[in-house]
Amino acid sequence: MREGNWRPRIVAFFCNWCTYTAADLAGVSRLKYAPNARVIRLMCSGRLDPQLVLAAFARGADGVLIGGCHPGDCHYLEGNYKTLRRFRLLRRLLRDLGIEEERLRLEWVSAAEGEKIRQVVTDMVETLRALGPLDLPGQFRQWDQEVETLKAQVVEAERLTPQPA
């Protein structure tokens, strides 16, 4: 992160057949959009293990974008429905853990919808800007500070106390 100039970080999990291809199309069409999304290619959005979503947040993502084929269009028949179901539950779970639902977004983007990539990414960046940084790594450090302070004191005390024979 560049100092004093926070930019939302998005990890985007795109399915190979529709959304990833749409992002390629956006490129080929030279559409311009916000540079905040880091795309990770999956064969199907159905491969997206919720653990990866949580890991992305835990490792510093401000938002996670999932892109899959439109309902009925899944290259693997129904993978996107599985994604949708997990997504619905995961959003609730995140909400209950104090993470704004908007930080996790699921979009159906077909291979032809390069323009939609532009819209979705740009819109999501705006949403995240309004929400502000999630910065879980920072939050973890802050939470652990109470432990770290004590740890330092213990270490210091042990240094001063000669070890029993």
Binding site: P50, L97, G98, V154
Partner: protein
């Protein structure tokens, strides 16, 4: 106490219900064998030891320290650090030490909320003077201190390094004995191992046969509102059973009691986040395809965090509820 040649063992109890201590006792006759084989040098719940006794020991003097309970206070931190220093092998005993356990569900709430509730708002409390526990209170010209109540509940290994884990709420006597036997025999697996089978519970489940191969759920059921078939896979009855995502080794005791697995053994070694995994499994098995139907089916899971992270919230990837920032004040609380 005269030093002996027997390996020295310590037990300690942090934020827990006491069930783990009970489990040790539950070893029944086997406890005698253990006592025979080891020298118990520290066990505050059962025997009279003081912190100074521990401090007086040379570092790594204890062969194995079994710690149960999660870490919530500065005192617990201090004690486990001390134990860590004095022990060759630190064993996390039970779900709370391993995963945060039930106490870690408190991580869904801000410390302040908890204190306010416990000392003021709970229906049974009358506290007109608004007295709250303070880390340090002047008393008769002296200062009386209390351990600091931490912002988060932590698993043991989030505070000190842990060598082995014995899972369970509580661990079964069989697992405990097997672990202690291995310890005494020096037959220990690589450090960091959970001393239970690394396979999900279904493998041991007596109802596995009854689970259909084409499970598709229209809804989740609340167990207390459902007449449960004592023979049939609970998940197949719409009961959120954590068995498929939970490490086995418990002998499926809950299932045998017609009760769904709640996940106390934690996930397998391949899983980073217990809750996320079972969430994925459950959600994938739903039948509806459109948001409304999906939400309806999921209405039977009113508390996803409490269900999926009943024992493992402290060890989850997100660790706790992200709350408002006024917690800052408490985090800076002085240690005793």
């Amino acid at each position: 106490m005269n030093p002996t040649s027997k390996p020295k063992v310590a037990f300690y109890w942090c934020a827990s219900c006491g069930g783990c201590e009970e489990a040790v006792v539950d070893l029944a006759e086997d406890i005698l064998n253990v006592v025979e084989a080891v020298e118990i040098v520290f066990w505050p719940v059962a025997m009279d030891f003081k912190k100074q006794d521990l401090e007086a020991m040379p570092d790594r003097a204890i062969a194995a320290a079994l710690v149960n309970g999660a870490i919530r206070t500065s005192e617990q931190e201090e004690m486990v650090r001390l134990l860590r220093r004095k022990s060759q092998c630190l064993i996390s005993y039970g779900a709370c030490a391993q995963l945060g356990g039930i106490p870690a569900l408190a991580n869904q709430f801000e410390r302040e909320e908890i204190l306010r509730y416990v000392y003021q708002e709970a229906p049974s409390v009358i506290n007109n003077s608004g007295t709250y526990p303070q880390p340090a209170t002047p008393h008769n010209g002296d200062t009386v201190t209390l351990p600091a109540f931490r912002n988060s509940v932590r698993a043991l290994d989030q505070v000190v390094e842990v060598d082995y884990y014995i899972p369970g709420c509580p661990p079964t006597p069989a697992l405990t004995k097997a672990a202690l036997d291995a310890l005494l025999a020096g037959r220990l697996p690589p450090r960091g191992t959970v001393l239970a089978p690394d396979v999900a519970l279904c493998e041991q489940c007596p109802r596995l046969e009854s689970k259909p191969k084409d499970l598709s759920l229209d809804a989740f059921q609340r167990p207390h509102r459902t007449a449960l078939d004592p023979e049939k896979c609970l998940l197949a009855q719409g009961i959120p059973c954590m068995g498929p995502a939970t490490r086995s080794g418990c002998e499926a005791l809950c299932i045998k009691g017609n009760m769904a697995c709640t996940g106390c053994f934690g996930p397998t070694s391949r899983v980073l986040d217990h809750g996320a995994k079972i969430l994925s499994c459950f959600a994938s098995a739903l039948a509806p395809k459109e948001p409304q139907g999906i939400d309806q089916a999921l209405a039977g899971l009113p508390d996803p965090v409490g269900t999926f992270y009943r024992y493992s919230l402290a060890r989850s990837l997100l660790r706790r509820k992200r709350g408002p920032s006024q917690t800052q004040h408490f985090i800076r609380g002085n240690p005793p």
